[in-house]
Symmetry: C2
Subunit: 344 residues, 2 copies
C-alpha cells in the first residue's frame, strides 16, 4: 500500500487517483480528510474501554487481545495529539479531551455496531428478536394497533410484547431495562428520561346525544359544572388534569362515577349515566353515532403522546424499527422538521 495519506502517489497513475484532475473542478476541497490508520477500530476500542473501565475487559468484549487495545489507544492518542485516558490506579480516568471525544465518538461507534442489523432489518425484515414496549391501556387500545399491524407485517419474526402498565410502572420497566421503550403521555419528564411527543390530541367532552347540553354548539365550563362527571381513577393523569382546571377556575364540579377504561366511560356516557371529558385519542368514528362530542381545547390542555426512552440507552434494532414507524425522522436525525402539530 502506498502511503496514500498525504502522499497521493509517486508513479503516473493508471487508475487516475486523486492527484490528477484537480484543475477545472472545485477548489481542491475534496480530500480534506485523510484517514490515518484505522480511526474506526481505534475509536471502537476507546469507547469500549471507557464503557468497561479497563483495557482488559474491553479486549474481551471486542474479542481481541489486550495488547491490541493498548496499541490502538496509543495510536489514537498519538495521532490526535492528546491524552485521552489517565491510566492511574486500577481504573482508567477520562481526561477532558477524552470526555469530549467519547461524547462525539460514542454515537458513531454505536451506530456502526448496529448498522448491519439495521440494514438487514430494512431489507429482509428482522429475522428474530423480541421487542417489549410499555404503554398504558388507552395507548395500547387506540394508538398502537395500527402501528403494531404495520410492524408485524414488516417484521413477522419479531416477538412483540406489549406491557400494559401505568406511568410509574412504565418508568420502572424502562429503568430496569425490562422494556425497550414506552409509548404514552407524560405530564412531567424525569431527568433520566427522554420524551419525544409525536401525536397530539385535544380534550373532548362527550355526552349522550339526548343530553340538554348537546343542543348547544359551544359548551363552556360553566355549562358543564352542574352535571355529574364520569372520570377515570384519581391516580390517572386525566383525573388530575380535569380536577386542576376546575380548581384553577374556581368552578365547582362533581364526579358522579369513577371508573377505569375509556370504553367503559364511553359506554356509561352513552347510557346517560353522566358526561365525561376524555382525550381525543379514544374517540373513534363509530362513537359519533352514539355520543355527542365537543372539543374542549380552550379549557383543557392538549395531551401529547410520544416515545419515552431512558436517556443514553441504545435501542435494539427491533426497537428502532418500531420507533421509526411511529415517527420516521426521530432516530435517524438529519431531519430538523418542527415537531408537534402532527395529530389533532
Amino acid at each position: 500500500m502506498k502511503k496514500h495519506a498525504g502522499t497521493p502517489s509517486k508513479s503516473k497513475k493508471i487508475h487516475r487517483s486523486a492527484a490528477k484532475k484537480r484543475a477545472g473542478g472545485e477548489p481542491a476541497d475534496a480530500g480534506r480528510f485523510y484517514y490515518k490508520g484505522n480511526r474506526h477500530k481505534q475509536l471502537r476500542a476507546f469507547v469500549s474501554v471507557v464503557k468497561l473501565g479497563t483495557l482488559t475487559r474491553a479486549a474481551e468484549a471486542l474479542f481481541l487481545s489486550q495488547p491490541t487495545i493498548s496499541l490502538q489507544l496509543q495510536a489514537l492518542e498519538r495521532e490526535l495529539g492528546v491524552t485521552l485516558l489517565e491510566r492511574r490506579r486500577r481504573r482508567i480516568n477520562l481526561t477532558d479531551a477524552g470526555e469530549a471525544l467519547y461524547e462525539l465518538a460514542r454515537p458513531l461507534v454505536e451506530g456502526w455496531d448496529t448498522l448491519d442489523r439495521d440494514f438487514q432489518a430494512r431489507v429482509k425484515g428482522l429475522q428474530a428478536g423480541r421487542l417489549t414496549i410499555a404503554a398504558g391501556t388507552s395507548t395500547i387500545q387506540y394508538l398502537l394497533p395500527e402501528l403494531v399491524r404495520r410492524y408485524r407485517e414488516r417484521f413477522p419474526a419479531v416477538q412483540l410484547q406489549l406491557a400494559n402498565v401505568t406511568g410509574k410502572d412504565g418508568l420502572a420497566m424502562l429503568r430496569a431495562d425490562e422494556a425497550d421503550f414506552a409509548v404514552g403521555s407524560m405530564l412531567d419528564v424525569p431527568n433520566d428520561i427522554a420524551w419525544a411527543p409525536v401525536q397530539h390530541y385535544d380534550p373532548m367532552l362527550i355526552l349522550p346525544p339526548d343530553h340538554p347540553l348537546a343542543a348547544k354548539e359551544k359548551i363552556t365550563l360553566e355549562d358543564i359544572s352542574p352535571y355529574g362527571l364520569i372520570l377515570p381513577p384519581q391516580r390517572l393523569s386525566t383525573y388530575r388534569l380535569v380536577d386542576l382546571v376546575f380548581q384553577q377556575r374556581q368552578m365547582p364540579y362533581h364526579v358522579a362515577i369513577e371508573v377505569g377504561g375509556w370504553d367503559v366511560i364511553k359506554e356509561y356516557v352513552a347510557m346517560g349515566l353522566g358526561i365525561s371529558i376524555v382525550t381525543g385519542i379514544c374517540i373513534t368514528e363509530a362513537d359519533h353515532a352514539r355520543l355527542a362530542v365537543r372539543n374542549m381545547k380552550q379549557y383543557f390542555p392538549q395531551r401529547s403522546y410520544g416515545v419515552v426512552m431512558r436517556k443514553g440507552k441504545f435501542l435494539s434494532a427491533e426497537a428502532r424499527a418500531f420507533v421509526d414507524l411511529i415517527r420516521p425522522g426521530l432516530l435517524t436525525h438529519r431531519d430538523y422538521d418542527e415537531p408537534g402539530h402532527s395529530g389533532r
Copy 2:
C-alpha cells in the same frame, strides 16, 4: 492475524480474550456483533460512489485507485448478501437495498469524516476556517450578539461573517451554498429546507407611556383599532402577520407610518408618533422605561426563531460548533427533549 471473528482462539489465551470468563457474568450478550473485513472502508467507498456517481470519481475523491473501490464494493455486497448497485450504463443505479443502506450509512460516514475536526475543535478550538451565517436584522441585533460573543470567545480563529439579509435572500444564500446556515423566523418552510425552531417570542404591543391605552391592563384588538400603527415594510413577515390577523377578525386598522428597523419603530413610538406591534425579541429591559408594553399573544401568534439549513447539507465543523451553541442537543441528537417552549 488470527481470524478472531467467529473463532475466538485456539490456544490457551494469555491475554484472556473473549472466550474465557463467560460463566458467572451476563448471558453472553457481548460480542453479538462481529466485524467482518472493514465495513468502515467499504461503506465509505459505497457512500462516495453513490454521491459521485462512478467508481472512478469515488476513487479519486478518496485518494484510492479504482480497483480498490471496485473490490470494496464487491466485498460489501458479498458480505451483506445483497446487490446494492446496478452497474448498468455509464452511471450506477441504486437498488432498493442500496437506497436503504445509503440512508443508514451516510450519516455515519459523514459523522466519521468530520469527527477529527470536530474533536480538535472541541479540544483546541477551531484553528482556522470561516463561518457565514445569514440572518435578518432583528436576529443579528437581538438574538445573535450573545451567541457571537460566546462563539468568538471559544473559537477566536474562525472568521465570522454575518450576512444581513431578508428571508428570500437568506434562502437563496443557503441554496447557493453561500451561507453555512441561517438563523431567523420562518412562516412557511420550503421542502428543501429544514427548520429547527429554538426560541419563541410573544408579540408585544408597544405604546408611549402617556398613551390613553397605557392605563388599561388588558388591551384588545378593538382598543387598538382606532390608533395609527407604525409597522415595518410590507414585504416583511411582521407586517403580513398583523395585516392577516386584523383581516381575519374583520377589524379595521390603519398604518400611520411604515418604516424599517425595530429601533426606529421603538423610537417613533416612544416619541408618540403611533403605536406598534413588535416581536418580543426586540424588547429589552431598557425599553420598559420609555415604552408601555403589553403581551398580545392572545391575538397574534408567537414568532419562533431558529436554525435554517438546507436539507442534506452537511455542516462544517465551524457551523456545527455554532449551532451547538444555539441549541446543544440539535445536532448531536440522542437528546429527545421536547422542542419549543424554550424562550418566552
